[in-house]
């Protein structure tokens, strides 16, 4: 397909007038690059370089001894290896479990499909500390599975205890990242023209062969995109590893946090941060090579693609996937809901009432204010991420432009960078004019937007690149100006992708905790910060209120995503 696109370009440049327009487009793209480059430089490279520089050149001289000692430390090698393999295993497992889910939600029509597709995003934004607690209950000796086994076979029955195991880490990583695959891959899948597959089937290909030779190659960019994101997320996993993996297991992220926040050993932290960066850049390079094959293809309106699950195989697939979602995604969340209603003697709404009581002694502010803060910060972060991410995507549409490729990958780097590195970097770098943001409220949405922007790019860019160049050329041949071409062809198609990205960004910003906790003001806690504070207090009602707040976070996230998903279906979604 690459070849075909290239031929088109050659044909285009042969017409003098078209050449002029093409260079206008290129010029516009260069200018669009400015937005992501400035954002990334000011709020990522500069802060991270400042803190790493402080660690490597403590007194103005390069701390060669410390660097050499750290690099040759067997403990560091062990931590790096564990980080790498658990991330690879988590990514593989997530793809294996979530790809069928993406298919079911994108291509099979069944009652409640849209709502379920929105709801699977909820786990992704839940604060780790809360969910990990639910996982401990489900994976420990008192889990429902073990209770059933004891009820059946008596107290001597074998019990499964997965607490503090690698298995627990992997299961939790699938839980958190399922939505990444469903939304990224599903977003493209529902646009694939089903007639391509129909044609393959008509010509006698089996379902499996059709999938392997027609569908999968078309989906490849989105699959690699989601794999890259899941890998980065699990590579830098912090809370899950600490809480579910037990204290004997550590990722590089955990060690960076320890070196920075506890030991103030900046040389160590800097070396580890660079190590993490190298691994992340390598992973992104691999991903870049694998996803370079641009697939120009016909996209259809999403509503055309899904079909009723009326044959046997589809029904089985549908039920199996719904079962996976129920067990893997819904059960841990239901544990939280159950706990939020649990009273010493039965069930009740007391924890919720306490959250909305006017004179709450629990937080510095009334808990409803945490909800308001979260919504405002998340809206601001979404706006920033959309502006930066969409500009980057438009600029990077031509996959062969080097600048575009660098920005595209560069925007992914914050996902693979420790929150503590970014948090401390903000501190040591953004404290002088023109960028004196000490104590500024803007730091919260900026930190959240850093994490959300890659999702905008990863959602919008594959769609943008898969627009058939011939459509643009046809419009151009018919006399449309580049602006007109963009308005009539690119905009309708990416409009939908941008809204998907908006929903995703908003959800991510709502749930962001790692960086927010370093830059939030005590008087303006977000919901995850409030949950964290409530969980840090003794007393059965605090725990209940933390669970109630978590349930509210869940409901608000779900509502936000359902609404945004509805909006796009109602208007912008139609081609």
């Amino acid at each position: 397909m690459d070849q075909r696109l290239d031929l088109d370009r050659v044909a285009v440049t042969m017409t003098p007038t078209r050449h002029g327009r093409a260079s206008t487009v290129r010029f516009a793209r260069v200018w669009l690059l400015v937005i992501p480059v400035v954002f990334l430089s000011a709020f990522f490279f500069y802060p991270v370089a400042s803190i790493v520089g402080l660690g490597l050149w403590p007194d103005g001289r390069f701390a060669f001894d410390r660097v050499a000692a750290t690099v040759s430390d067997p403990t560091v090698a062990r931590v790096a290896w564990f980080t790498l393999w658990q991330a690879a295993a988590s990514t593989g497992l997530t793809l294996l479990i979530a790809l069928p889910g993406a298919y079911v939600l994108a291509r099979l029509d069944f009652p409640g499909r849209r709502v379920i597709r929105s709801l699977v995003t909820v786990p992704f934004v839940m604060p780790t500390v809360v969910v990990a607690s639910a996982f401990l209950a489900l994976l420990g000796p008192r889990s429902p599975i073990n209770a059933t086994s004891v009820a059946l076979f008596g107290s001597g029955a074998p019990t499964i205890d997965l607490r503090r195991t690698v298995a627990a880490i992997l299961i939790a990583h699938v839980f958190f990242n399922y939505a990444v695959v469903v939304r990224t891959v599903g977003g493209l899948w529902e646009h694939l023209d089903p007639r391509l597959e129909d044609a393959a089937r008509l010509m006698g290909a089996t379902r499996w062969r059709t999938f392997r030779e027609v569908t999968l190659p078309l989906l490849a960019p989105a699959v690699w995109s989601s794999a890259a994101i899941v890998f980065l997320f699990t590579f830098t996993s912090f809370g899950v590893v600490l809480i579910l993996g037990g204290p004997t297991r550590a990722t590089i992220e955990v060690e960076i946090h320890r070196a920075t926040a506890q030991l103030l050993d900046l040389p160590l932290a800097s070396v580890l941060a660079l190590l993490q960066l190298v691994a992340v850049v390598a992973a992104l390079a691999v991903y870049g090579t694998l996803s370079r094959r641009v697939t120009g293809q016909r996209l259809v309106a999403a509503d055309h693609a899904p079909r009723r699950a009326d044959d046997r195989a589809s029904k089985i697939l549908l039920r199996a996937n719904l079962a996976v979602m129920a067990v893997l995604l819904a059960t841990p969340l239901l544990v939280l809901v159950e706990r939020s209603f649990a009273m010493p003697d039965g069930w009740g709404l007391d924890h919720y009432r306490a959250l909305f009581a006017p004179a709450s002694t629990v937080l510095a502010v009334a808990p409803w204010q945490a909800i308001r803060n979260s919504l405002i910060f998340a809206a601001a972060a979404t706006l920033m991420a959309l502006v930066v991410g969409t500009a980057a995507s438009l600029a990077a549409t031509d996959a062969r432009s080097l600048g575009a490729r660098i920005v595209d990958r560069g925007l992914m780097l914050p996902l693979g960078t420790s929150a503590v590195t970014i948090g401390f970097g903000f501190l040591v770098a953004l404290n002088r004019p023109p960028l004196d943001l000490r104590g500024s409220l803007l730091l919260v949405p900026i930190a959240q937007a850093l994490v959300a922007t890659p999702f905008v790019v990863r959602t919008v860019l594959p769609v943008l690149r898969s627009i058939d160049q011939r459509l643009r050329d046809a419009a151009g041949t018919l006399g449309a100006s580049p602006a007109k071409v963009w308005q009539e062809i690119d905009l309708p198609i990416i409009g939908r992708a941008v809204l998907v990205a908006a929903g995703f960004s908003f959800a991510i910003a709502l749930g962001e905790f790692g960086a927010t906790v370093f830059v939030a003001r005590a008087q303006m806690p977000t919901m995850p910060v409030a949950i964290f504070r409530l969980l840090g207090r003794p007393g059965v009602t605090h725990f209940g209120q933390a669970m109630a707040m978590s349930t509210l976070l869940m409901v608000i996230t779900a509502a936000a995503i359902v609404v945004i998903d509805r909006v796009r279906v109602g208007q912008i979604g139609r081609f």
């Binding site: 459509l471 906790v517 005590a522 605090h542």
Partner: protein, 375 residues
């Protein structure tokens, strides 16, 4: 230019591109407008508290940790009376706050730092973070908490990290409550204890220090080796130990590291409140931690910063700390809330270590602990 793409143009593609164009772009505009309004609302919110008074209030920025809490009305009243505006900026856990303050010495993020505790005090002092300040309220402070004779830091609250036990569990099991740290390594108490990793948890570190004081620098690692052999469970942080491992909250460990304030909190935050606390503290295990505040060197509002320290020492603030931060006041003229007076244990001679001794050995002790307990 006569040829334009219109709706009547035959579709060259399978995709009906140009259909609902107008409604769509309108919605996009509305969407952008909505986001713009929200972002303006944020800007407005940021400024909402800048109510103009006769003379502009002095802003004091207080750096603190994420467990800091205070009654907002109390702050507002003090701000009004002293023409101040106090911003509390949370910067992660206690260790992070000190480290960030040290890194930003040359361009301080705030004017006052609250929340440096016994374990991190020497690091903050050695980095020359603070300027001296003698609060008029110094006389009210219990003298044993005044550790710095240059008054660079002022004690604000005190809390003991202690082993908590589930009293009901021990009653049911017919086992006597442990009375000393040594009991934990006894076979009868096998598999009953949960502690926190001192590398990631501040009460976890305090408990490590308790064992150093109790068994001495030569014996504390032996204690931990025996405790490990007796099936101790180590979690990452306080909330996992307390809410996931403690039998009181559905776990399977009846002995956990927590605070002296935890039993009264269990009473106060239960509904209905029980007559007797469901948990108890093992007094002999308690390690005392003092939390300090100081004025950051380089502040431009030193006088107002001093006033904020006075606020933290005021009777009203001090009487509030038990129920907002679960610690105890340091001043003699503060009354404990009834529930603390009745259910809290404040050991007369807790385990303690000199902040400078801690500063010298802290990192080494954590490494030794890690090798003994986790590897």
């Amino acid at each position: 230019m006569a040829i334009r793409m219109t709706r009547t143009q035959p579709q060259t593609s399978a995709v009906p591109i140009a259909r609902a164009r107008r409604p769509r772009s309108l919605t996009t505009q509305r969407w952008v407008a909505a986001l713009a309004i929200v972002s303006m609302a944020i800007a407005a919110c940021g400024d909402a508290s800048d109510d103009a008074t006769d003379s502009e209030p002095t802003t004091v920025r207080v750096l603190t940790h994420d467990s800091f809490d205070v009654d907002a009305d109390l702050v507002a009243a003090y701000e009004h009376a002293h023409n101040l505006r106090i911003e509390f900026i949370a910067m992660g856990d206690a260790g992070s706050v000190v480290n960030q303050a040290i890194l930003t010495r040359n361009a301080p993020q705030g004017d006052v730092l609250f929340g440096v505790d016994t374990t991190f005090l020497s690091r903050a002092i050695d980095a020359e973070l603070f300027v001296s300040y003698r609060s008029p309220r110094l006389d009210a402070i219990d003298t044993r908490y005044l550790v710095d004779d240059e008054y660079r830091v002022t004690p604000i609250d005190v809390g003991d990290v202690c082993l908590n036990v589930d009293v009901g569990w021990f009653d049911d099991a017919g086992l006597p409550l442990p009375t000393d740290l040594d009991d934990l390594t006894d076979d009868a108490y096998r598999g009953l204890t949960a502690v926190m990793n001192p590398a990631t948890s501040s009460p976890g570190l305090a408990f490590l220090l308790a064992t150093v004081d109790r068994f001495g620098q030569d014996g504390w690692l032996d204690f931990w080796a025996s405790l490990r052999a007796n099936d101790v469970v180590v979690t990452d942080g306080w909330s996992e130990t307390y809410y996931d491992e403690f039998t009181l909250h559905g776990g399977d460990r009846p002995i956990v590291v927590s605070y002296a304030s935890s039993p009264p909190a269990e009473v106060f935050f239960a509904d209905p409140q029980p007559d007797v606390a469901p948990s108890a503290v093992i007094e002999a295990s308690c390690f005392r931690q003092v939390e300090f505040a100081g004025i950051l060197a380089g502040t431009e509002v030193e006088e107002a910063a001093g006033s904020v320290i006075d606020f933290l020492l005021s009777v009203k603030f001090q009487e509030g700390v038990p129920l907002t931060m679960f610690v105890f006041p340091v001043v003699n003229d503060a009354q404990l809330p009834d529930v603390f007076a009745r259910h809290a244990v404040v050991p007369d001679s807790p385990l303690e270590l000199d902040p400078w001794v801690i500063g010298e050995h802290r990192d080494q002790w954590i490494n030794d602990w890690t090798s003994t307990v986790l590897r």
